[in-house]
């Protein structure tokens, strides 16, 4: 495993170089978002779900938002979508499991450090958060969301390594409907369950900090292996025409 990680890091060196500017923008974005969160936390208590939507989207798609155009997924030919770097790597003597691992590390580096940074400044600069959550509960809250960024966030990774999807009006409509449905669920959530999604995770972190953290870490480990195997299956099957 260590050898594989070393190999993956060696291969992604050139990519990391061109991502330096992107990382600056991600850093700036997380800073601004955290400020927004600090000021908007009161509004959330009044069943305002805007922050929930943003929070969920941030932990799933955040790492992909600032990716340079040349590294964004493409559909070179046929119906298979993939990162251009995956196609480039497949033409070289790089094993498929290393390409998958590299995609995961690539995503992880663009998400985890910035999410961690967000949680640190959120706790440091929000007296309201500090009043509501003691350190243990806050750590649990951070673990819940950092783990979510893995077991849910990694769901945006399979498309990097070869995902077959026909471009059609029907598919576009279905994708938009799915996204719309997620947004609607998040918006109506507080009306049916009293609190919003983020608020509920705060409640879990306060009431059951250890159990919530352990379950989240466990889910993250399962999620990691699930998405990794799914990606390996896809990369083995895809036709990169």
């Amino acid at each position: 495993m260590q050898k594989d990680i070393k190999r993956a890091l060696q291969i992604m060196k050139p990519e990391l170089k061109i991502l330096r500017i992107s990382y600056f923008w991600i850093f700036l974005f997380y800073t601004l978002y955290t400020i927004l969160f600090i000021f908007g936390i009161d509004a959330q208590k009044n069943r305002f779900a805007g922050l929930d939507i943003f929070f969920v989207m941030l932990f799933i798609f955040g790492p992909l938002w600032f990716r340079p155009k040349e590294l964004q997924i493409q559909k070179p030919n046929g119906d298979v979508w993939a990162s251009p770097l995956t196609i480039m790597n497949l033409q070289l003597p790089i094993k498929r499991n290393i390409i998958v691992l590299k995609s995961i590390i690539f995503y992880f580096l663009g998400s985890f450090p910035f999410q961690l940074y967000m949680f640190v400044i959120l706790y440091s600069f929000s007296p309201e958060i500090r009043t509501e959550l003691d350190l243990i509960s806050y750590l649990s809250f951070a673990i819940i969301w950092l783990s979510f960024g893995i077991y849910f966030g990694f769901s945006s990774l399979p498309i990097e390594v070869g995902y077959k999807m026909k471009s059609s009006v029907l598919n576009t409509i279905l994708s938009l409907l799915l996204l719309g449905a997620i947004v609607v669920i998040i918006i109506v959530f507080p009306f049916y369950f009293t609190y919003g999604i983020v608020e509920w995770t705060i409640i879990f972190a306060i009431k059951w900090p250890i159990i919530s953290a352990v379950i989240s870490i466990f889910a993250a480990i399962i999620g990691y292996y699930y998405w990794k195997n799914k990606m390996l299956k896809l990369i083995k099957q895809a036709d990169f025409q």
Binding site: K13, P14, I18, E70, L71, L85, N89, Q91, D239, F240
Partner: protein
């Protein structure tokens, strides 16, 4: 001796295009030109060899290792230059070289420097900012020095200027010197085919027309200027226009002409491009199996 590349009963369907069934064996020390009309499946075949496209049927082995299996060690033994380069745009030549060179145990840095020099390739510029011709040259500079035993080139000279094409041919001839290497080159450039190839693997609309030894193939065709009237369907006849008959079996044709006292004023052999045109001609109903120069693939 095991062939470097072994393909048996290979078939692939993509939408309404069907490739195969194809059989092919590539031996050490040979250059095979992959020839065919546009959309004949040349690039798809090369992608199948590289396991970028998965077959519906059949096997492909590189040095006796199945390319579609879990063992990926064969990749070090193949250097592939695709027709359309994906993923290189944001990187400079230096960066690409630093990425690619350590992946190949036989990488020859001197050869890389030599190719960069003779093609005058700017390594500090991003790949995406280079002209198509220079991109192709850089791609070659990053492919040939890998010194893998099988070099696969998909339309390597389509954007290159005439002097560069000549330089490349010289480079590839030198590269073949050790004798244990092979090249598969897909090309529409007749000079590449004429000067480089030992064998021709001809495809037409996904079907194999034949696998031929180049010199033998050319020798097996002849053109006759007939001076007297002759009946249709002379043995070996492939085409006839204004009294000029082309035969794919000169021996049989001549025997027939002599026997029937049909005279000809001149006889000449065909150029390789004429033979390829005949092979790929829509109206050409002659299957590869009828040609005497077929290679046992």
């Amino acid at each position: 001796m095991n062939p470097i590349l072994y393909i048996r009963d290979l078939e692939k369907t993509i939408d309404d295009f069907h490739l195969g069934p194809l059989d092919l064996s590539i031996e050490q020390g040979t250059i095979t030109a992959l020839v065919g009309n546009n959309g004949s499946g040349k690039s798809t075949l090369l992608k199948l060899i590289m396991n970028l496209v998965k077959p519906d049927k059949g096997n492909i082995k590189v040095h006796n290792t199945l390319v579609h299996g879990d063992n990926e060690s064969w990749k070090e033994l193949v250097a592939y230059q695709p027709q359309k380069i994906i993923g290189w745009d944001p990187f400079t030549g230096y960066t690409l070289k630093n990425l690619i060179a350590p992946l190949y145990p036989n990488w020859d840095d001197k050869q890389f420097q030599k190719i960069v020099e003779i093609f005058d390739i700017p390594l500090h510029k991003k790949f995406g900012k280079l002209s198509q011709g220079v991109q192709q040259k850089l791609n070659l500079a990053l492919t040939i020095p890998r010194n893998a035993s099988l070099l696969i080139l998909d339309e390597p000279t389509s954007y290159m200027d005439i002097p560069s094409k000549k330089l490349l041919i010289d480079l590839l001839v030198d590269w073949m010197e050790p004798g244990n290497r092979s090249i598969i080159i897909s090309s529409h450039q007749i000079d590449d085919i004429r000067k480089l190839s030992d064998y021709l693997y001809v495809l037409h609309n996904g079907k194999k027309i034949g696998h031929f030894e180049k010199e033998e193939l050319v020798e097996n065709y002849a053109r006759y200027w007939l001076s007297s009237k002759a009946p249709n369907n002379i043995p070996g006849e492939v085409s006839r226009e204004d009294g000029v008959l082309i035969s794919s079996n000169p021996e049989e044709t001549e025997a027939y002409l002599v026997e029937h006292n049909i005279r000809w004023t001149n006889r000449s052999s065909l150029e390789i491009e004429d033979v390829i045109t005949l092979l790929l001609s829509k109206n050409n109903t002659i299957g590869g199996s009828q040609h005497g120069s077929h290679v046992n693939s």
